[in-house]
Symmetry: C2
Subunit: 248 residues, 2 copies
């Protein structure tokens, strides 16, 4: 037959919906504005609520929307750029980083992946420091920092100090070591219940997991696992602070 190749591609409804909504967000809504509720929106577009939600989920994943139970769906501000290495080649806790120590954890289990990086055997003593990062008044990241106990012999292993004080002690002790190198990986993850609470999100929310390896004395002495909110954050890596500014 002489028919040309028609659009035989049945675009899924939620995909088309997402496009429509995305355009509407650009042209008809201001940041912070509240959208109609899901039941109304679904009715307006003539789809089931589940289908509408599939579109909203995509938009939230892309940082365009923010949904809060009991409140509603609002138009999200542009993602905030967070510098991942503001001061190059320094230990965590160095002057000028905008992380805040929260506490230290006793006798928690070290994840297998981290144990591999640290080359520790099960049972080897490791300090675990919890830190939190706040930008523009919003929590953007939660971190667990694993430090080989033998690398910071000045730190009391037992509960001779309160948890927050011990966290600070470990960070201080780190600064005295020579940092020989570091490298990083970034991957997608989902927030554990713990992190989710710290980040003011629901468990399972998408996060960017940054794993940093710190090398000193010829071996990996510390590993930081930092969990950034993927919906609100854009990680910046740059040779200058220009990167962070530019991304905001």
């Amino acid at each position: 037959m002489g028919t040309t190749q028609l659009e035989t591609v049945p675009e899924p409804k939620y995909w088309h919906l997402k496009t429509v909504l995305s355009d509407a967000l650009d042209s008809e809504f201001a940041v912070g504005e509240i959208l109609p509720n899901e039941r109304d929106l679904a009715a307006r577009f003539g789809v089931a609520r589940a289908t509408l939600r599939q579109a909203l989920e995509q938009l939230e994943l892309e940082g365009r929307l923010q949904r809060r139970r009991g409140v509603g769906t609002t138009v999200a501000p542009p993602r905030v750029g967070v510098a991942v290495d503001p001061v190059s080649h320094t230990w965590p806790g160095a002057a000028g980083d905008d992380w805040q120590p929260v506490d230290a954890i006793e006798s928690a289990t070290v994840p297998a992946a981290v144990a591999g990086l640290l080359a520790t055997a099960p049972g080897d003593p490791v300090h675990i420091v919890r830190r939190s990062r706040v930008t523009h008044g919003r929590p953007v990241a939660a971190e667990l920092l694993y430090v080989l106990a033998e690398a910071v012999p000045g730190c009391p292993p037992a509960a001779s100090l309160g948890a927050p004080a011990r966290a600070r002690a470990v960070l201080q002790e780190l600064q005295t070591l020579e940092l020989e190198g570091q490298d990083r990986t970034v991957e997608l993850g989902s927030a554990r219940a713990e992190d989710a609470k710290q980040l003011d999100r629901l468990p399972g929310a998408p996060v960017l997991v940054v794993t940093t390896r710190y090398v000193s004395g010829g071996r990996t002495t510390a590993v930081a696992v930092s969990t950034y909110r993927a919906d609100t954050c854009r990680l910046t890596f740059g040779e200058s602070d220009a990167a962070a500014l530019l991304a905001s």
Copy 2:
């Protein structure tokens, strides 16, 4: 009443399911193995298929599973580490990078975000080169590289060459410029239909979007937007190649 704080937290079914499945994957399944189909799994756990799917989606997001329509759900291999900056401070297309030019696009629209970085006005001529990155025989990333036309005056603007040839010409011309600086951002996105095809995924699949800005002659002359499969990739940033090896 003297009751202690009981676990009043009703963990969602899909969340619990995810944990159970995750443990099962660790202990009872080998990489590449095919899981029972969704209807059987749902029946086995006594939940609706949609609920089971919610758990599978999370596991796929975390890179534990791979699902293919018409085939089934298989256990995914560990994420592959891909070095984002194998050779520091070089233009794209330099010897040794494992990107392959695909073609060049004529008269396509430059996204607003990219136009902002390049500081171009609408209508300013920009070369767009499409590239593709393959690791271990699998496509891991698709890229659109935007190059200010005025920065590479030796490249023919019109269709005097075939698209692939023009792509190579632009990359070659870039190498002759002095690269004064570069910086990067990483954020979560969802695959556009185009990228999805190149990455062998469905549209909307989660991707890590790496935006690289190249500075030369005092201004941003090129911007690369690289789209990595979030399910299979772990991006590595390091001072040495050790990072890539370590992450694999």
